[in-house]
């Protein structure tokens, strides 16, 4: 496997981790509106461990790196987010297996696998006002762009982040049907889902830093 590809995955994990840690308070506040406010704390405790352990993760493939991250996430993050994010990373890792480079089509396949994993784990569907309501439409858009022949990763990532942001904002219109927010009934309408917004923030930061990724 190309060590450049592994370096990019490492770079990506580091960027995600840093964004989650920096946004601990913000993500917690998003969850506090109609949830219980622990989302930022839970994610941060897991991803600060990912950042800490990242140097020691196996270097042989992107899949191995992602799988190691999935393990850290599962073992350190509690609440709903632990199983959800842990499953997502694990499924993505499995789908990355055997790939020399994570080309755009492969990334779409990894996202699809992550989505399927989240759905199985959380029994949520699109429309239930969860992070799926950002991830599914943004993955759809990414797939369309890739199918249309776009291959510049910066362009694709920018588009993905924009789609996540747009869809995350739109979750404000939804009533929560899953998770703690659902207990507030119609009062959950009017504010966006914490998990959806977190995905948008993470992708936006990654897109901003993408030009600084290791040379391939």
């Amino acid at each position: 496997m190309s060590s450049a590809a592994v370096a990019t995955t490492r770079f990506t994990l580091a960027a995600i981790g840093a964004t989650v840690v920096e946004n601990e308070t913000y993500f917690g506040e998003l969850d506090a509106v109609v949830g219980d406010g622990d989302f930022g704390f839970s994610l941060a405790r897991g991803f600060e461990r990912v950042l800490e352990d990242l140097p020691g993760y196996p270097d042989e493939s992107s899949a191995a790196l992602l799988q190691a991250a999935a393990m850290t996430i599962s073992s350190r993050i509690g609440g709903t987010s632990g199983p959800i994010w842990g499953t997502a990373f694990l499924r993505a890792a499995t789908t990355a297996k055997g790939a020399d480079n994570l080309d755009p089509a492969r990334v779409v396949a990894m996202l699809r696998a992550a989505i399927a994993g989240i759905m199985t784990r959380g029994k949520a569907e699109v429309g239930d006002k969860t992070l799926l309501d950002a991830l599914v439409p943004a993955t759809d858009a990414l797939e369309v762009a890739v199918a249309a022949g776009e291959s510049d990763s910066q362009v694709l990532l920018d588009g993905f982040a924009a789609a996540l942001r747009q869809a995350a904002e739109k979750t404000s219109e939804l009533q929560a049907m899953r998770g703690r927010a659902s207990y507030s009934g119609v009062r959950s309408i009017g504010s966006p889902d914490a998990g959806a917004v977190a995905l948008a923030v993470i992708a936006e930061r990654l897109a901003e830093q993408w030009s600084a990724r290791p040379a391939e």
Binding site: G28, F41, T80, Q175, M177
Partner: protein
Amino acid sequence: MKKFVNDPKDFVAEMLQGLALANPDTLVYVPECNLIHRADAPRADRVSVIQGSGSGHEPAHVLTVGPGMLTAACPGDVFAAPPVDYVIETIRRLASPRGVLLLVNNYTGDRMAFEMAQELAEAEGIEVRTLFVDDDVAVQDSLYTVGRRGVAGNFFVMKAVGAAAEAGASLDELVRIGEKVNAATRTMGVALTACTPPAKGTPLFELGDDEIEFGVGIHGEPGRERRVIASADELVGDLVAAVATDLAVTAGDRFALMINGLGGTPISELYLAYGIAHRLLTNRGAAIARSYVGEYCTSLDMAGLSVTIVRLDHEITELLAAPAEIAVRVF
């Protein structure tokens, strides 16, 4: 934020350290997986009864570990279900040939962690059953597909199952008892103030000087309805009406009645509320055979209370009356 806390990240660990230091002979604390278990567990001749959930609900559940109640408690961070790994490790350490019973409050995060852990533990050859508690009548709309929440009523499930386990009941028997008690139990709560998780540092929601949250949960998540503060008679009256209607209280039935403080409510107010609830239920012709007033399942520093009723039969009454020795020492 004004709290007794050092680094908020260490809040749960430092609380558990204190609990272990205060109970050196009876409790064991395993920091690697946030575990508190009876010093004499697991026992080959007893089912191990384990309850997990987020922290911030003390005395639930780390303080209810002991003979006649839980074998172990496996808490997560404040308001967060424990990570799956902690649960698996807990099950492994408490595994008994008679089996392991997991008591889980019905929340998405808790369900996922315990279901995943059960699957893994079974794969390792440990016999595991899980019992979900869902006593909160505030969540009743069928729209909310996640179902009712488990709140203060989990005390009665713990107590009954714990007593039966102590007496040597089988795993099947414990599941039967737990399901029966859960089905006979209803709770509804009201919050006068929001709570402040140490890591957040500010109240989870804003309440005006005269506003309250009706039908609130135990995680500081807002309730079903925001209202204006009213007299104790009115507030407790509405809570009693909600649980009594849902459980179809009729004249001649016998009940246990619990007034549970949510963390910031003085004991005096809890007893005042108890008197109101007791009179309202007996006015309906119900008999109150067992009374519980105090803190059983809290929401950090939230001011508020919940009312729980349990319809009693002979078996439940006996199990509730059985002795228990837990880590809450009052005298």
